[in-house]
């Protein structure tokens, strides 16, 4: 009787025969038992090693004690690393899988039970770092990121620069095949470098390459301490694959206790002097940027502003000041800077850029906005940590009083000193100032409301309508915005009541596109854990850099509500092109869209989101349909899943 399978497919017999011969020839490939018997006694290969012999056993259960000892790694080095990471209390580790950290990856899964830290599966390293960035700002807790030391860090680079410029801590565990004996393939050679951190060192705070598990323990704890001490920033540890995979049985590792450093405090005499200036000033102005890393930072700025009845301009690097507070005069920034006799900048990214404004003409120049006689004081940690290559430190500004110290901590001192320095005259003047400030604030709000009414029913949907439809449905819930809304004309800041520290987390840091979506997913994870609704106004250009992160949101059931600001192009860049064409007196019609518009064909964001496992709707073109779409999306959010609504919008 003929085997029907062989008869039907004679080539299969030839293939099996040649495969058996091939097995004999290469020797090391495990050989089926029958074939092994057939070739017994014919092989001239040396006897197999103990490990190879163990591998040829059919099942681990049959191994004797000696074979088990020689084959299995009982306590891999990466298990020890998991214990060290756990000692810090890091809840999540965002990864894009890579062979160089297979040891630590496996340990987190099987030794650590994928908890504390829990792995967040990301589809690109830039998304993993962006996610950690948003999570840390929303939760106040540090997150770890794990990636290849070579190609992984190269992918991660832009997002690391954002975190560095934004002074956000995170620990990046990047793995390497340090020695040639661990590079078993061409790929592993390509994924090896003498100094993998070199591609991002210019924008990290610290890095190390520990060569032992004890070294890893001390470097990991030190890394966390350095990352979280103001000025904060990302740190990197290179973890060798051999260190992860070697047997650490019998190796005793003493993990040191994390001893956080206190924040640097401004000089007491300088703070006292500044308090006197503030009390004496006619028109003091407080400007805050990356100040409030915690709710305490916001609270102390409110206290200081109310003590002085001084207007506050919140530049939005953090949630510094309530949008609905009568002293929030951010929309009046330019006239306030011009009229101030004392400006105090707190944790400023660019003090020079507040005092001046760029004039983008053929002969680029700067106008001074502030008066010549203005006194300027700064409080912050920028001068305490600088690197040279990437110049996110901005232009030098010679403040009369530059107080080096953490903004939050130093403002506590300043408030005390202002209370001491307060005079009856100043208190009397404050009464009049309060009424004036409140009146100006109401005018600003009234103008914003009136402006929002213009184009209310227009299609494409105005960004004011988009933001207000959103506000209408989230305002009675515990909510948090995950983006800065710069490209939506800051409508949330102008019209929403943003008055809790968790409701806003600032901007990207280095203005690298591709931050919004990943950081929103990270922030939404923090808000999910805290029982809050996370809301993302998603720019389309940003979406297209990093769409895969929406898969991560779906996979990990992170209920982020994303409303697309779909305006079909890079409008800011289009204006730069218009300026160039204008200066060269040519091509002012039509050409600015070349290279900047991406609406032909129009990306179907709802389809992309759906394909990534995210509930979606749209494109919505009718402004009256935006609200009902948000209602449906919130039902999805309430079930614990992410949702995205694509809305065709006006440019800004």
């Amino acid at each position: 009787m003929t085997d029907s399978t062989e008869a039907a497919n004679p080539s299969r017999r030839r293939f099996l025969a040649s495969a058996a011969l091939g097995s004999v020839a290469v020797g090391a490939i495990p050989i089926p038992a029958a074939a092994e018997a057939a070739t017994a006694g014919k092989s001239k290969l040396p006897p197999p090693s103990t490990r190879a012999a163990a591998m040829e056993r059919p099942a681990p259960a049959d191994y004797d004690a000696e074979q088990q000892d020689s084959y299995f790694v009982k306590r891999p080095g990466s298990d020890v690393m998991v214990d060290i990471i756990r000692s810090i209390g890091i809840p999540y580790i965002a990864i894009n899988s890579g062979s160089s950290f297979r040891g630590l990856h496996e340990s987190i899964n099987n030794y650590g039970g994928n908890a504390n830290p829990q792995i967040l599966t990301c589809l690109h390293e830039e998304q993993a770092v962006g996610l950690a960035h948003g999570y840390t700002k929303a939760s106040g807790k540090i997150m770890a990121v794990m990636c290849h030391g070579t190609v992984g860090l190269q992918h991660a680079a832009m997002a690391v620069y954002n975190a560095y410029a934004d002074r956000v801590p995170m620990v990046i565990i990047a793995a390497a095949h340090g020695d040639l004996k661990d590079r078993l393939s061409t790929v592993q050679w390509a994924h090896s470098a003498q100094d993998p951190v070199t591609v991002i060192r210019d924008y990290t705070k610290w890095d190390d390459t520990p060569l032992s598990l004890q070294g890893f323990a001390e470097s990991f704890v030190r890394a966390i301490k350095i990352a979280q001490t103001p000025p904060m920033g990302p740190v990197v540890l290179i973890v060798d694959s051999h260190l992860q995979e070697e047997d650490a049985s019998g190796i005793v590792v003493a993990t040191p206790r994390l001893a956080p450093a206190t924040a640097p405090l401004g000089d007491a005499n300088a703070v006292r002097e500044l308090a006197k200036w503030l009390v004496a000033a006619e028109n003091p102005l407080l400007i805050a940027d990356r100040l409030a890393n915690t709710p305490a930072g916001m609270a102390v700025l409110i206290e200081l502003a109310e003590l002085l009845e001084a207007p506050v301009v919140d530049l939005g690097g953090r949630m510094n000041f309530p949008s609905d507070h009568y002293l929030n005069h951010t929309a009046r920034r330019r006239p306030l800077v011009a009229d101030a006799d004392l400006i105090v900048g707190i944790e400023m990214e660019d003090m020079w850029g507040v005092i001046h404004t760029g004039v983008d003409t053929v002969h680029a120049s700067f106008d001074r906005v502030a008066s010549d006689g203005v006194r300027v004081a700064t409080i912050g940690v920028n001068d305490l940590f600088l690197k040279s290559n990437y110049q996110s430190f901005g232009r030098y500004y010679p403040a009369e009083l530059a107080i080096s110290g953490d903004g939050e901590a130093t403002l506590l001192l300043l408030v005390d000193e202002v209370k001491r320095a307060m005079t009856p005259t100043r208190k009397r003047r404050n009464d009049g100032r309060r009424a004036a400030m409140l009146a100006e604030f109401k005018k600003m709000r009234a103008k914003a409301i009136a402006d929002a009414a213009i184009a209310w029913d227009a299609a494409p949907v105005s960004t004011a309508r988009l933001c207000m439809e959103l506000w209408g449905q989230i305002k009675d819930r515990p909510w948090a915005l995950t983006v800065d809304a710069m490209f939506q004309s800051f409508w949330p800041q102008r019209l929403w009541d943003i008055n809790q520290h968790h409701q806003f987390i600032g901007r990207s840091g280095a203005y690298g596109v591709g931050y919004g979506a990943p950081s929103s997913v990270g922030a939404a994870l923090a808000h999910r854990d805290a029982g809050r609704l996370a809301v993302n106004i998603q720019s389309d250009g940003d979406f297209l850099y990093v769409p895969g992160v929406f898969w991560t949101a779906a996979h990990h059931k992170i209920p982020l509500l994303s409303v697309m600001h779909n305006n079909g192009g890079y409008h800011q860049e289009a204006m730069h092109l218009q300026r160039m064409a204008s200066r060269r007196n040519r091509g002012l019609a039509d050409s600015a869209s070349v290279g900047n518009a991406f609406h032909q064909p129009a990306p179907d964001y709802a389809a992309i989101a759906k394909g990534l496992g995210v509930w979606s709707a749209g494109p919505v073109t009718d402004p009256a349909a935006v609200g009902p779409a948000i209602t449906r999306a919130l039902q999805v959010i309430d079930s614990g899943e992410p949702a995205l609504i694509d809305v065709i919008c006006q440019p800004r």
């Binding site: 105005s462 004011a464 002012l588």
Partner: protein, 124 residues
């Protein structure tokens, strides 16, 4: 007083006599909408000229053509200049007509989402 009234009446009649007919105005406004987009005005001022973070409001309260043209030809530093060779007076007039054709905005008090904001502001 009487003379002044007469003067204004005559001026109004002359203006009416020189103003383009409504159909032409509508046509200009329609062409102006396309030009508003082609010349990138909407990039900063948004599609209906309501303005935004990047550019000021142009409509529905539109400044007179002469002032409008003067700004477009020699604008403030952040805006690119549009010389006559690039944007003719006729086309600029059409853009102006488009902005003038914008309807008056709704009273915020008639929009529930904005009325709620008005109420919140008045409580402060």
């Amino acid at each position: 007083m009487k003379a002044a009234i007469m003067h204004h009446a005559v001026a109004a009649l002359l203006l009416a006599a020189t103003a383009p007919p409504v159909a032409a105005q509508t046509q200009d406004a329609k062409a102006g909408e396309t030009l508003f987009s082609r010349y990138g005005c909407m990039q900063c001022h948004n599609n209906t000229g309501q303005g935004g973070q990047a550019g000021p409001k142009l409509a529905p309260e539109v400044i007179p053509y002469e002032s409008f043209a003067a700004i477009v030809r020699a604008p403030a530093p952040r805006m690119p200049a549009y010389p006559r060779e690039a944007l003719s007076d006729a086309d600029l007039g059409r853009i102006h007509a488009y902005l003038q054709a914008m309807p008056a905005p709704a009273d915020p008090a008639t929009i529930p989402l904005l009325r709620e904001r008005q109420a919140a502001a008045s409580r402060r």
